[in-house]
Amino acid sequence: MTLIGSDLTPYLALILLGVLPTEIWRWLALVVGRGLDESSEILVWVRAVATATLAAVVAKLAFFPAGALAALPLGWRAGAFVAGLAAYFLGRKSVLFGVLAAEAVIVGSAWWLGVR
């Protein structure tokens, strides 16, 4: 039983901690979303919270990272954001330009610093 339990634990965690907390927002949107005007105050607030949360997630993923990104000094990760944003706005809001510039800083600095 213990063996089965330990084998299934990651899958239980996947459903309870990964799938349900994510899917609930999609389902909730179907329930509350019909007939909700896109410019209603409640939706403006929900969008502000969603945007702030996503921006916070971005900062969390970059500054408290998992895996290989953690080996790169923090200053380079911050520099990649600056380069990405600069290229995005200079390139007339091109997501592709921004992503490429940021990636050049990350991969280039990691290679140069010997993070291999």
Binding site: A29, E38, V46, L54
Partner: protein
């Protein structure tokens, strides 16, 4: 629509589905694939089974939530804190689904089809959906959207497997680059989709708020920066709108 024999043969639902599938082969699918190569390799690094990594891509279908879950399970975070953090990182899906609903016209569809469409919603298909759906005939939108979603999901699941297999083989410099794709792509997408002052304020307050809130060290930084920061951004935006009117 009312004529029993229309003069032209409209596209069948299956044909719309195939069109959606074909439309999925574009830049977002490439960024998505690279992102999930990174996520797949992180899953392998943390010792998760391959089947777990693939199921997580298919069922969570949200990069940040996926990464937070793997990292949290790997570092032994508490389940309650982890569920809360994952849940907060996915709140964005609510307004994203709501804003796609007027394009999809789901009211005549089976609830399961509606749930499937809602499940497909993630940043990549949201951006593509808002761009492409207006060009699709009303009755073809649901199958088109499902085709688009199938293509993007298949690309992501395949890439997860590739990344899982490449873990430890990809030079770390590239692995770092793949892992940075999610944050930079999401950040730039936020600027692309921000419509009001409150949205733009929320980007800055959420980003810097997280750094400030993580000083508290209680694991609730996403709650403070997201719920608190977002509400602050909304309030500031509303005050500004009120002043503009008066």
């Amino acid at each position: 629509m009312n004529a029993p024999n229309p003069p032209y043969v409209p596209l069948s639902q299956a044909a719309w589905y195939r069109r959606g599938l074909r439309a999925s082969a574009a830049l977002p699918a490439v960024i998505l694939a690279a992102t999930f190569i990174g996520i797949g390799s992180v899953c392998a690094d943390y010792g998760m089974p391959l089947a777990w990594a693939l199921l997580a891509t298919l069922l969570i279908w949200a990069g940040p939530a996926h990464l937070i879950l793997v990292g949290g399970l790997g570092s032994g975070a508490s389940w309650v804190a982890l569920a809360l953090t994952v849940g907060l990182s996915s709140v964005r899906l609510l307004p994203m689904v709501v804003s796609l609903l007027p394009y999809l016209r789901l009211k005549d569809r089976h609830p399961l089809i509606a749930a499937l469409c809602a499940h497909m919603v993630a940043i990549s298909i949201w951006v593509e959906g808002l761009r492409l759906l207006p060009q699709v005939d009303a009755e073809g939108r649901v199958p088109f959207f499902l085709g688009l979603g199938t293509g993007l999901l298949a690309s992501a699941v395949g890439s997860t497997a590739v990344g899982y297999g490449l873990a430890g083989i990809i030079p770390n410099a590239f692995a770092a680059g793949l892992l940075f794709l999610t944050p930079i792509f999401f950040l730039l997408s936020l600027f692309t989709t921000a419509r009001m002052l409150s949205d733009r304020l929320a980007i800055g307050i959420g980003f810097f708020g997280l750094l400030l809130a993580s000083l508290a060290g209680d694991g609730l930084e996403l709650l403070y920066a997201g719920l608190g920061g977002g509400t602050l951004a909304y309030a500031l935006g509303r005050i500004r709108r009120a002043r503009a009117v008066s």
